[in-house]
Point group: C2
Chain length 196, copies 2
């Protein structure tokens, strides 16, 4: 599975491609940071990000996109820009019929370090380690993009097993309910007969 | 000036086209609400919104897009979806080289009602009145999209006059500074001569 990881942002947008192998093995294919000028109009910045994302999708042909889900940030203005940058990249992927998965920062941190509250240094250290890189990826946005791709590779099989298990459980619950209803109907019949 | 107004949202996205005439006269050309299914994946919803926006841009060929600037909302998840919907529409416009203006809800309310704190009913009433509609536009998202288009038509000339005035003031300030510096140099010369 080839995953394009995106740590969205208007000023710095981390972008990375990671291949998943057997078990937990992962391999970094490419990583970079898309930058747009702070003084450019918002719509132009979004277009530059979308254009760069299209280039990455053309060049690396990932199977799925893993984007950081923005929940809240101290600076609302920054949070909106971050959400919009992630939104236009998700749109580029959807236009190519590629699935887009969103993972929260704490899901990514937990997948990589075992703790959803790990700091940036810890995430970078684990990204460097599991990818067997000789140097830590910089800036943090690049490391986060790699982390989001790895997070998806590791979580996706678990998530699909979970979805399967939930579907099976729902099926069993329905069958059980149907049996109960049938039993209730059978039990109710003599009662009605008695009342007549 | 023909303006496409957008009140962004994932579940309901208000969209409207308004033509500006001489003075404060405005005319409604079209208004609708783009809806996307709540249970569809986010990327697919964003694509449906972008596709609908493309249709409107093709059909009505506006000169400029006026989008609500999202600042904050009680529900962070909703705010993010709103920002993303606005972002993909801004992207569609930028790809066509159309300028995109963002106005905050209070700027829109102030332009229409004189108060940035006006409620939805008041905004709808003024939108209905200034456009000379026989019926109030519904739902509120449709009225807001019309309001954002009108807000841009009314504020744009003022904003460009303001920008011109600011540029002129900056020019004057620079000329004044240059004169002061020249005067200071002239005043400093005899002093230096005295010190020698």
């Amino acid at each position: 599975m080839r995953v394009l990881g995106v740590d969205p942002g208007l000023t710095r947008c981390g972008i990375a491609v990671v291949d998943g192998g057997t078990g937990r093995s992962v391999r970094a294919i490419a990583v970079d940071v898309i930058r747009t000028p702070v003084d450019a109009p918002l719509a132009v910045r979004l277009m530059q990000i979308a254009d760069a994302a299209e280039l990455w999708l053309d060049r690396y042909r990932p199977d799925v996109i893993s984007v950081e889900r923005v929940f809240s940030q101290h600076n609302v203005r920054t949070a909106m820009g971050t959400a919009q940058a992630g939104g236009v990249i998700a749109l580029c992927a959807a236009r190519r019929d590629l699935p887009v998965a969103f993972h929260t920062p704490s899901e990514m941190k937990a997948a990589l370090t075992g703790s959803g509250r790990a700091d940036k240094a810890q995430v970078t250290a684990m990204v460097t380690k599991v990818l067997g890189l000789t140097e830590a990826p910089k800036p943090a946005d690049a490391a986060d993009a790699l982390g989001l791709a790895i997070c998806h590779i590791w979580r996706a099989p678990m998530q699909s097993r979970l979805a399967e298990a939930q579907a099976r459980a729902a099926q069993l619950a329905q069958a059980h309910k149907a049996r109960l209803a049938a039993a209730a109907r059978t039990a109710a019949k003599p009662a009605r007969t008695r009342n007549k």
